[in-house]
Amino acid sequence: MSDDARQRSPWDQGSLPENVRAGVGTAIIGDLAFKRFYAKLPEALVIGEGCTMELVHFDVGPKGRMVVGNYCYFTNAVLLCEDRVEIGNYVVIGWNTTIADSDFHPIEPAKRMADAIACSPLGKGQPRPPIATQPVIIEDNVWIGPQVTILKGVRIGHGAWIEPGSVITRDVPPMSRMMGNPARLMGPVSA
């Protein structure tokens, strides 16, 4: 087996942040997993059993709460959670996919300018304006390919298949195959 630097540093129960819980047989691999984990809530991230979380970024904000089911397989996914992200069992997420439950900045220009100041080095202590969030729900057995973008407020129905590179802006019905930007229904998932 070739030398794979990225397999070297799996997290264990001892090294995980205290508000993260991972089930038996779950491997969390990669130094950057909690680089932007700012969650303050207890049990802010709960991952089930038998999961493979390889080079995933768990970017959970102070009020965020993320749940991942059993036997999920994520590679190099960026999971941005300011409110709530719920992922079911047997979910696959491919390389370079981003899931976000927030827009991170206000839409309205005046509020956005205030946010730019609050985020700047001169904005210390200044509160940021409120920012819209809507939970993302991904049901069981969903397959999400590489380079996919999933935006806030989306529910992806069980067994759906999201083709690589898709941008999901709306709810996806169960067992449907989606593709494109914005993603459109290609038909049912069939073996």
């Binding site: 070739s2 794979d4 038998g50 493979t52 036997y71 047997y90 696959v92 590489p146 898709s166 494109g180």
Partner: protein, 194 residues
């Protein structure tokens, strides 16, 4: 002449796999690109003279996979997911974060996928081995693929064509055309050289 062993300038402590045939006139920035290379067939990775492959690239090649990169081709950073054959011709320009995949690696059938994921939890290292029919990806000569583009299993791209940035290519691209969009469509034709 082929490159072998360690690369003198490499930041990563790795070697070129024994079954890779890298022209000594090619440039590899790092052996890190072989971090997920586990093919055991002959000539599993062929890189031609004058080709260069830079650090953001990852050759995720399973046991029977073969990746071929032609002469004078530059790959800045591609994720190559290969269970059978991913072939890139000569004089190609492959930009950053490009995905070339000849297999989805996971079956459409839910029950089979669940069994595969349960098996994955018991393997070390945790590689998903292909459980979907691979369909080769063939990129012709003189092709330019823009950043963030995805090329899906079974796709062939004809000589001289351009794939626009962020495109998702699900169908064959004729030679000397520009395709763009997600899903990608032909947006114009290019003049074929004499």
């Amino acid at each position: 002449m082929t490159l072998a062993g360690k690369l003198p300038w490499d930041w990563h402590d790795g070697v070129i796999p024994a079954n890779a045939e890298i022209s000594s006139e090619a440039y590899l920035e790092t052996t890190y690109i072989f971090g997920r290379f586990r093919s055991n067939r002959d000539a599993a990775c062929r890189v031609g003279k004058g080709a260069s492959i830079y650090g953001g690239t990852m050759l995720d090649v399973s046991a029977h996979g073969q990746v071929q990169v032609g002469a004078y081709t530059t790959i800045v950073a591609a994720r190559i997911i290969c269970d059978q054959l991913v072939q890139v011709g000569d004089y190609c320009l492959i930009s950053w974060n490009v995905l070339l995949m000849d297999s989805y690696r996971q079956p459409f059938d839910l029950e089979k996928r669940r069994r595969q994921l349960e098996l994955l939890a018991r393997t070390n290292p945790r590689y998903v081995e292909g459980d979907a029919e691979p369909r080769p990806v063939v990129v012709g000569n003189n092709v330019w693929i823009g950043f963030d583009a995805c090329v899906l299993p079974g796709v062939s791209i004809g000589d001289g064509s351009i794939v626009g940035a962020r495109s998702v290519v699900a169908e064959d691209v004729p030679p000397y055309t520009i395709v763009a969009g997600n899903p990608a469509r032909v947006i114009r034709n290019l003049e074929k050289p004499e």
